[in-house]
């Protein structure tokens, strides 16, 4: 399959403008014969929203702007990020990502781990999601994670145990830390997790990070694809916008699982029992 990583710089708080960017990018990806185009976290809204959250929130089931983008996915799939507010749950906002295929929503993931310390204030402005789940796509089973979710070991594990062949991560990761390297120090953190998770879960890990500047903070870019077994297949530039299109052979998952038996030998029931005991009696 052909993957397209849309390393864009969304305009903060301007859904209408961002919808246009999505439509153009989907068209470009289609011309490049992409089967799946992955946009970054909060791609329809921008990240540093603060009190703008209620103004940009939308219900993916009914919002005309969202439907416009979804409708453009005829013949391909897309992952896009938005602030979710369902009609059934008014006033409750989530940082969500949707997997849309052929105009239909296949899955919505709500960010579970909300960084709220130092420069981050997510839990002040939106609610935390409560589940991780793998789901079927036209290319096999996949899982969605949003930014910080990816850095928590349990999140990737649940998707792995749930049978995902591909773990898709969408991110709005600000670059932090400058030393002698040719990138922000934090870029290494994401790449390390991509390498480790793709290696030990024998899945394909797809990471789209955004670029651009919001309130003085530069988003680092450097989107990447790791093949099963920790092989770096492609990486986009740091800091610059890019549409990275790369051919990925998902049969590599099968070959990796014949070589590395992590999936076959995994014992989720042991993990579950251990966790249950720990949660029931944390003092134990």
């Amino acid at each position: 399959m052909n993957l397209a990583l849309a390393q864009i710089a969304p305009r903060l708080g301007d859904v209408r403008q961002n919808v246009e960017t999505h439509l153009e990018t989907i068209d470009r990806a289609r011309r490049a014969k992409a089967d799946l185009v992955v946009f970054p976290e909060l791609s329809l809204t921008g990240y540093t929203l603060k009190d703008l959250v209620p103004e940009v929130a939308l219900d993916p089931l009914s919002d005309p702007q969202f439907r416009k983008v979804a409708a453009r996915t005829r013949g391909l799939s897309a992952v896009l990020g938005f602030i979710e507010e369902r009609a059934s749950e008014p006033g409750i906002f989530y940082n969500s990502a949707a997997f849309v295929s052929g105009g239909e929503i296949r899955h919505v993931h709500r960010k579970v781990y909300l960084p709220t310390n130092g420069m981050f204030e997510e839990a002040k402005f939106w609610a935390a999601g409560r589940r991780f789940a793998a789901f079927e796509t036209p290319f096999g089973r996949a899982g969605l994670l949003i930014c910080r979710d990816f850095l928590h070991l349990g999140a990737g594990y649940v998707l792995f145990a749930g049978g995902a062949d591909m773990i898709i991560v969408v991110s709005a990761a600000p670059g932090r830390g400058v030393s002698e390297g040719e990138a922000f120090e934090t870029s290494r953190m994401w790449e390390l997790m991509g390498e480790a998770l793709s290696y030990f879960s024998t899945t394909c890990v797809v990471y789209t990070n955004r670029v651009g500047v919001e309130d003085g903070v530069s988003f680092a870019g450097g989107s990447f694809i790791y093949g099963p077994g920790g092989r770096l297949l492609a990486r986009a530039a740091y800091l610059e916008p890019e549409l990275l299109v790369h051919r990925v052979d998902l049969s590599a998952v099968r070959r990796a699982r014949m070589q590395w038996l992590f999936k076959r030998d995994e014992r989720p029931e042991v993990i579950l029992r251990s966790l249950e005991r720990m949660v029931r009696d944390p003092e134990d």
Binding site: R11, L12, G13, D14, G46, T48, L49, K50, D51, L52, G175, V178, S179, E180, G181, E182, A183, G212, V213, E214, D215, G216, S218, L239
Partner: protein, 272 residues
């Protein structure tokens, strides 16, 4: 940590920052005060690379004929960078004020000059439709070595997260001429003044202590145990604490459910 930076990478980030913030605020041009010192020279060089030298205006604002060498250096730098520059003498307005309200201190006229330069910059910002670029570095911001509403005032500040030592490394990379790089840093508050002389510590020492305390989040006790001079560590800690007001907007008395400065929270880049 060692205050090390990769200058080409930092240059790239800061150029992106200047270019994007100018566009978002609807400006094509940038304006800044040129003192003939390191920070404003580095900022001017970055701005020239970000938006084109012809879109950068450097204001040289000497007080009469004092600091004549600095004003000449500023002019020379502007010519080398190919940016526009103008010289505006701030002596008439400063002298008018102090002839009515004389003082014997050196600090008050120094602060007044910094605020006059700020007032001229904001006036030219409006005349020229150019956004004001700040030149305060991280060292100055943290120890409060600047005049509030004076040289600390700006619209966007590309240098505010770089210590003086790091600005110097960036200056080498950007090819800032030696006649600027070799000078002792000075706020230009009075003739012969140097920052290090006035603070009583070298930038090399201040920056290493600041990095230890601020970036590595270590305590004063740990700093002293690590071998930093106790008197320097204590002095710097006090300077940081006593200057917090310079890094904030005025405190607003909260009355309503939604108050500016407390819980009316919007990004700078709102809809841009």
């Amino acid at each position: 940590m060692t205050l090390k930076i990769n200058p080409p990478f930092v240059e790239k980030v800061l150029i992106g920052f200047i270019r994007e913030e100018l566009r978002k605020f609807g400006f094509r041009k940038g304006i800044l005060g040129l003192s003939g010192g390191l920070d404003s020279s580095v900022c001017a060089a970055l701005a020239a690379r970000a938006v084109g030298a012809q879109n950068v205006l450097g204001l040289v604002m000497p007080y009469g004929a004092s600091f004549d060498a600095d004003a000449k250096h500023a002019g020379r730098l502007a010519r080398e960078l190919g940016i526009r520059s103008r010289v505006i003498d701030i002596a008439p307005q400063v002298d008018a004020y102090f002839s009515a309200h004389p003082t014997r201190t050196r600090v008050l006229p120094g602060n007044k000059m910094a605020r006059e330069r700020m007032a001229v910059l904001y006036d030219f910002s409006a005349r020229e439709k150019a956004l004001i670029l700040g030149t305060s570095n991280k060292t100055e911001l943290l120890i409060g070595y600047g005049t509030v509403h004076g040289d600390m005032a700006s619209a966007i500040n590309p240098l505010g997260d770089l210590y003086k030592t790091q600005v110097r490394r960036l200056a080498d990379h950007l090819g800032i001429p030696a006649f600027i790089r070799r000078k002792a840093p000075s706020a230009g508050l009075w003739a012969g003044q140097t920052d290090e002389g006035e603070i009583g510590l070298t930038y090399a020492e201040i920056d290493r202590i600041l990095e230890f305390l601020v970036d590595e989040k270590r305590t004063v006790r740990e700093a002293i145990a690590a071998g930093f001079r106790p008197s320097a560590v204590k002095k710097i800690t006090l300077m940081i604490r006593n200057s917090e007001f310079k890094r904030k907007l005025p405190v607003i008395a909260k009355l309503s459910h939604r108050s500016v400065g407390h819980d009316f929270l919007y990004p700078f880049d709102w809809g841009r």
